[in-house]
Symmetry: C2
Subunit: 281 residues, 2 copies
């Protein structure tokens, strides 16, 4: 049974993909988009990601059954509060934020138990590309969506939001917000910082001397600085922990190479290969 109205706040790569997937899979009868940039919203209507749009949150969620917040992580908590105030009590709210602890901390004690329920989520899908023009109905297919309900989150609402993400093609894994932020610091946030550093230390005059290895290992450095700054700030302590662990590992490498420790170098490289091989190609 499709819901009557899905509203998407922030119609970029992720928001546009939520709309395309929801329509392609018959998850919602009507999809409304909310944003600031009317030209972007009009393009999203043309591409079929949304059916209609508004620049006014209150108006756009008044009849919503489910709202997906796809704004940057430093704006999600405020957007949840704005939606919760204007949406009907049965409405479900979820998000796509790459960090969870900061959002839940900002919301603590501020949501009414009788109003709309917020079930935090993070789809492990995305791209260094931005905008609804790069959106895809298949962005979530076979990808993992992590939900991070707390002890206060209504169980039925959590199940319903998880079902919604599965309808978009995703697999769902439930974690605590703390575990999510700790793990993602290593599996997503640290790689972004490292890719950016690798790119930044390379003189542009040498870019013609790169091959596939450099291209792959720096690809995510093209991501949007504003979005990523917000992520690093929202998950500061866990990111710093991952950075420290990584720095020790690189300093090990430095020591081993400087010492000419052949067996140590093979061993060091084999440890990284073992983990990467476990991931598969």
């Amino acid at each position: 049974m499709p819901v009557a109205q899905l509203t998407i706040l922030g119609v970029g790569l992720l928001g546009g993909s939520v709309g395309l997937a929801a329509k392609a899979r018959g998850v919602a009868l009507r999809v409304r988009g909310v944003g600031r940039d009317e030209r972007n919203l009009a393009r999203a209507v043309s591409s079929g990601a949304i059916d209609s749009f508004s620049t006014d949150v209150t108006e756009a969620v008044a009849d919503a059954d489910i709202v997906v917040i796809c704004t940057p992580v430093d704006r999600i908590a405020d957007d949840v509060l704005a939606v919760a105030k204007a949406a009907p009590p049965h409405c479900l709210i979820t998000d796509v934020g790459s960090t969870k602890g900061n959002i839940l901390a900002a919301l603590a004690g501020k949501l009414s138990a009788t109003g709309p329920t917020f079930v935090p989520a993070h789809p492990l899908a995305g791209s260094e590309k931005r905008g609804s023009a790069n959106a895809s109905a298949d962005l979530f297919r076979d990808r993992l969506v992590i939900t991070t309900p707390t002890a206060d989150t209504d169980g039925e609402a959590t199940a319903a939001v998880e079902y919604f993400w599965r309808q978009l093609g995703a697999r769902v894994l439930r974690m605590t917000p703390e575990d999510h932020d700790h793990a993602l610091a290593f599996t997503s946030h640290l790689p972004h910082a490292v890719a950016s550093a690798l790119a930044a230390v390379t003189p542009t005059g040498w870019l013609n001397l790169t091959a596939g290895g450099f291209r792959d290992s720096t690809r995510i450095a093209a991501g949007d600085p504003d979005l990523w700054a917000a992520i690093f700030e929202a998950n500061g302590p866990a990111v710093l922990g991952a950075v420290d662990r990584f720095l020790l590992r690189i300093q090990d490498f430095r020591r081993i190479v400087a010492a000419g420790d052949h067996a140590g170098l093979i061993h060091w490289l084999a440890e990284g290969k073992r983990v990467r091989d476990a991931l598969g190609s």
Copy 2:
């Protein structure tokens, strides 16, 4: 005009691709492979990468017009000497080594001016995959091959070897061995160490929490530890210089995040994005 005989030492991913490309493009009438593992060599005959093989270098290069050495960087200099002793005087010798200074240093004063000429080369092509089974006739197409002749290298031989690589589909750029090793420390060797470190610090239990970013940025960590240990050892000082530059950059990041310096973080990320955007997707 094809050469009569091309001999390839080391018939793996690169050596097999030299053979396939040479045959597909009519560069050589006969392609011989040399190696230690007869089963691997027999497979390379079946796949068409070579026409025949030998486990004896002396025998395999006796009639060679051009020899391509595709062995690990710590064996190339010895292989050049072995080939130069057994090949006819007009024979050209080139290689695919990822480092150049160590090879030229090991050869200094050891090659006869009247014997075969060695023209060092490094095709910026490869893969974390190994073996002639992954070889491709198109591996070098539109890829860069860097040649590093010295003041002692015969000019005609250099031009002939560069023509050979162009016949395999590559573009050729001539550099000094020192410039090559300095630049490749940043564009290839550092990224490998960094990818390995990123993979190694990630608990395997969190690999299901990775997405495309982690996958791309760690892909090369699956490379062969023996081959890469030899590369890091051969280019130690330049690699350590690149590592130090990179460490400073990551330490900058750490300081900026710890200080909550929003503008500094945006700026730090924008510098990496600028370089990566200059490379293109």
